[in-house]
Amino acid sequence: MEITERSLMTLIHGMGFGALYLLACSGAIVELYRRYAPTCQTPVEVRDERFLSTYLVVMAALAWLTVLTGTYIIYPWYRAVPPPGTANLAGFPQRMLMANPSTIAWHSIGMEWKEYVAWLVPISITMAAAVFIRYGRNLRRHPELYSAVLGFVFVSIFAAGVAGFLGAMLNKYAPVEGGPNIQLLHGEKP
């Protein structure tokens, strides 16, 4: 069972950091809604407050890791330019998509949207984490601030969902492949 170095890195970027961020989003929303909505009356313990602060900081770290690995490690592999006369575009995903009229939109709309919309995620969740660390349970006293922070978290899920979906589809039609093979497991001989 082998995987190429570039495939492994793409997996870490998408399935590791990105998917984990998306999973974490629902937890953050539930926690913000259950304990910190302005209408909540139940007392918040210091432990709960500390938990959500840490949770949001981890989410922000995941969002930054996702966009930084995507932009500075995966994207250069995606947009690599083949030498003139190259017939096999397997190692050049962008060129492979652009060479076929039925897949060109995955680049011209899919990747063009993904590469920018993903950057709204770390900005939004870093702000949410900073505001929560500053206000904690007192967020209940600032209903407009609470609603706006929740709005940014919702938009961050949408943006991360768009980027994740497009990333999965792009990798389906033109996988980022190459680099040395990494042996994951040895199978039994037939």
Binding site: Y72, W113, V117, S124, L145, A148, G151
Partner: protein
């Protein structure tokens, strides 16, 4: 400080919202900067070339780095001006959310191509 003064001070601190407003509006500005720089790099070859901070990544490196700088500078300035104040939040939250939604729309290529 008397007990009454202490109580008033704690009460005032509870309602201070300037640093939250600063973080929120700066996030809106930063998000919009991503979309604006992306749009400018798409429309102008000069901007596109100027945005290549790291060649393997192309203009994406400059667009995102510039937007992050705009976001952090806006946050620092707004925080410095508002952190100990009580701000009327409604226009700030509206502006921040409008900037965020605009940035979502403007990064979508079929909409960006209308300009």
């Amino acid at each position: 400080m008397s007990a009454k003064d202490r109580s008033t001070s704690v009460h005032a601190q509870d309602f201070r919202n300037g640093d939250g407003a600063a973080a929120l509006l700066a996030a809106g500005i930063g998000s919009f900067a991503v979309a604006l720089f992306a749009l400018l790099a798409d429309k102008s070859n000069a901007v596109k070339s100027a945005m290549i901070f790291y060649k393997p990544t192309g203009p994406l490196s400059g667009v995102t780095t510039s937007a992050i700088i705009v976001w952090l500078v806006a946050w620092a300035i707004l925080h410095w001006r508002w952190h100990s104040s009580v701000i009327t939040l409604r226009p700030i939250t509206r502006a921040a959310l409008i900037l965020l939604v605009l940035s979502l729309l403007l990064t979508f290529p079929p909409i960006a191509d209308l300009f």
